[in-house]
Amino acid sequence: MSALVPLRVSRLVKTYRIRSSDTRDGGALEAVRGVSFDVRAGECFGLLGPNGAGKSTTINCITGFFPPTSGEILIAGVNVHREPKKARAVLGVCAQDETLDTDFRVLDQLVRYATFFHIPVEEGRRRALALLERFGLSDKAKEQVEALSGGMKRRLQVARALISRPRVLLLDEPTTGLDPEVRRVLWDILMEQRGEGAAILLCTHYMEEAERLCDRVGVMAEGRILDVDAPRELVGRHIGQGEVAEEVRPGAIWRRPANLEDVYLKLTGTRLHALEPA
């Protein structure tokens, strides 16, 4: 019943044409090579992978901004490339880049953004004030965006993604640059959204974040998902349940439980140091 799955990515392939003269493989870059996954209602699905693994390309295809080379993306059963307006009405996006509209003050830009979802100004204002309160930005409502710290801008951008009460939430590295306390506030908010039935797709480089928040995680490298499962299942399958020993400095051995980072490093093959089961 695809109509009931908030987000379905089926056999997504995305090949970029490169025009520059220095391409080696015929002017094409296969950024995503056949990726499939579902994100269910009330589920947080994590995409982990090194830079260049194809995570952001996948996100850009899901928003309907980049057309897929092949494959299909359904948001609440609607093909986002055939009916972008309908599909994106239930989609909230927080891009990796800062994309706040610096021509508007903090509150005004949430209200303006809400109008893009057919939300009347009064209703948008009510929602915006509630979001600013929840994100600890109430006293910044009248500020220029430029006057905010990096962490505050990040929070504002996540808040903006929530203004339309989306059923599907795409978050590309939402907590980068946040201090531990603010990060926890954001985690709480995301878990509230999940509790209310939102389907969340989270791209992150923070393994602890993925382990805490994500019901399932897909580990991506070179345009493919190498394995998908709950974080503990992945750890058990690829590392084992015991402790691992790691030489963190010459002569200093740490023994600790295996974690998602060990899985990530093992699967994506970027490990430079030896990791031995203890």
Binding site: G64, F65, P84, D97, T99, D101
Partner: protein, 258 residues
């Protein structure tokens, strides 16, 4: 996707620009209107006192009236080009708002139409203010305020297309300087803003007629001063309008959508 939905999207984008304009009204009034008004004063009154009258197409007119009409065309060119070239580059490259608007129920196509229409709206408004000054001073026929409107709008859309195409192709904001100094300034100086192009050597006249601003000035002078109508001007403007608007949208899609 229905036409009504698309128009709604374009309207949303246009209203976003209008809201920014409204919120910084004083800044925009000073920066949008000071330039044409300064040109009017400097050339209309200063050079106008020196030159007295000019004779074009067998018609005698005061230099002040002649140059006022040219400033209408110059206003259309500068206001729409700068807003679309520098303004759109900042919005697209630094603010990244094209990308953030085009993942909502608004599409990139609608964002670009909204951008072009806003740039044209702003330039048309400025051109109308100059026209109104010309009418109030008795240099233009009173009806010019209305008749100039469609010419100013479509010409503004044309130069907004030029600006957006430049924004789409510029690798950095500094690169916008190339077309600004190699295309826009030459048009400003050689397309009949300050003197009739008939005074130029013949080959330069042909170049001037190929560039769109000469046709804009010709039409504006027909409507404000009663100069003879030159039908070719409509064709030149229509051709550049279609070409530049289509190319600017294509170039922006090519840049943003991979």
């Amino acid at each position: 996707m229905s036409v009504v939905d698309s128009l709604w999207g374009v309207r949303c984008v246009w209203l976003r620009y209008f809201d920014v304009f409204r919120k910084s009204l004083r800044y925009y009034l000073v920066t949008t209107f000071s330039e044409p008004v300064l040109y009017l004063l400097s050339f209309g009154l200063g050079v106008g006192a020196l030159v007295g009258t000019v004779r074009v197409h067998g018609m005698e007119t005061s230099y002040r009236a002649f140059v006022f009409a040219g400033i209408v065309g110059q206003t259309v060119l500068f206001q729409s080009f700068y807003e679309a070239a520098y303004g759109a580059f900042v919005r697209m490259y630094y603010q990244k708002i094209f990308g953030s608007m085009a993942v909502t129920p608004i599409t990139l196509s609608e964002v670009l139409w909204g951008e072009l229409l806003w740039d044209a709206t702003k330039a048309t408004t400025a051109a109308e203010v100059v026209t109104l000054i010309g009418v109030l001073l008795g240099d233009f026929t009173p009806g010019a305020v209305l008749t100039v409107l469609p010419v100013a709008f479509f010409s503004s859309l044309l130069f907004a297309g030029l600006g957006l195409a430049v924004a789409a192709r510029a690798k950095s904001i500094d690169e916008i300087g190339y077309p600004q100094y190699l295309v826009v300034f030459p048009m400003f100086l050689f397309c009949g803003v300050f003197y009739p192009i008939e005074t130029l050597p013949a080959p330069l006249q042909w170049v001037a007629w190929a560039l769109p601003l000469t046709s804009v000035n010709s039409l504006v002078r027909t409507l404000t001063l009663g100069f003879p109508f030159q039908p070719g001007a409509v064709l030149v403007i229509a051709a550049w309008l279609l070409l530049l608007v289509a190319y600017s949208r294509r170039a922006m899609f090519a840049r943003l959508v991979k």
